[in-house]
Symmetry: C2
Subunit: 152 residues, 2 copies
């Protein structure tokens, strides 16, 4: 008989506190506070992180962290990983919700021979990201893979 793998349950705790107008502070034990606002289109002040940004960023970040875990496990060596995310907020069936999040990871490899393997790991990270698995928005990934220029 195979040993049965057990999976733990994890809990994440955060706090928010209203400041004034549409401004607030978000906190989590041991982390630096982040000043936030509603976005300007919802009467907030520009230049602050918003709930909408944090939601969209959490999807891109979780995909990155999942990629890092899988790349380590598969011993994929890479030079850099940067990504942008675009969240689309639409009014559907009587309410606003995020309908789509488009991720555009730019991965730079050290060796061209890793390209297909890297593409597979990106795809696995896309499917395995636990934040993406917790949302209703369709998460689309449009990866770009390049090879680092050899050192001069």
């Amino acid at each position: 008989m195979e040993p049965k793998k057990t999976y733990k349950t994890f809990r994440y705790l955060t706090g928010v506190a209203w400041k004034s107008g549409r401004r607030a502070v978000v906190s989590s034990d041991g982390r630096p506070d982040i000043e936030v606002s509603s976005p300007p289109e919802f009467k907030g002040d520009a230049g602050f992180w918003t709930p909408e940004d944090m939601f969209v960023a959490s999807v891109d970040l979780c995909t990155l962290m999942t990629f890092l875990a899988f790349a380590q496990r598969k011993e994929l060596d890479f030079a850099s990983y940067e990504s942008t995310a675009e969240g689309v907020l639409e009014f559907v069936e009587g309410k606003y919700r995020f309908t789509e999040i488009i991720l555009r990871p730019h991965l730079v490899l050290k060796s061209e021979s890793d390209t297909e393997r890297a593409r597979q790991i990106l795809d696995d990270a896309h499917k395995g990201c636990l934040v993406s698995n917790s949302i209703t928005a369709a998460v689309k990934m449009l990866p770009e893979i390049r090879i680092a220029a050899p050192a001069a």
Copy 2:
């Protein structure tokens, strides 16, 4: 005939960049960068915001911002609003996902006569939050309403 209300589509753009190990930076145009990591239980470093924290915080924050909008519209006067959120990450049907997010808003009112109205506005904010409307986790709200002590 009633005039047809039109609803705009909004787009939110964020960026991430890998630094080293399980560390990265998250950015959004005009906002301060935030240093992030995987949580320690997933091989990251303690003391940094994580994708999990940002996801959970975005739900609590969005609920707060929705409350602020509704309270302004209904001319509800209040002294303070603080809240904590707890996100439960579980392994379900072959993958990890957030199954529940519990919000515990503590609202302090200036007048006891506003209690029922405030409870309704909290409930409306809970149902109207656009991030909650975009996730599969069950969002539960356990509000506490108090009345500010009169000035001495």
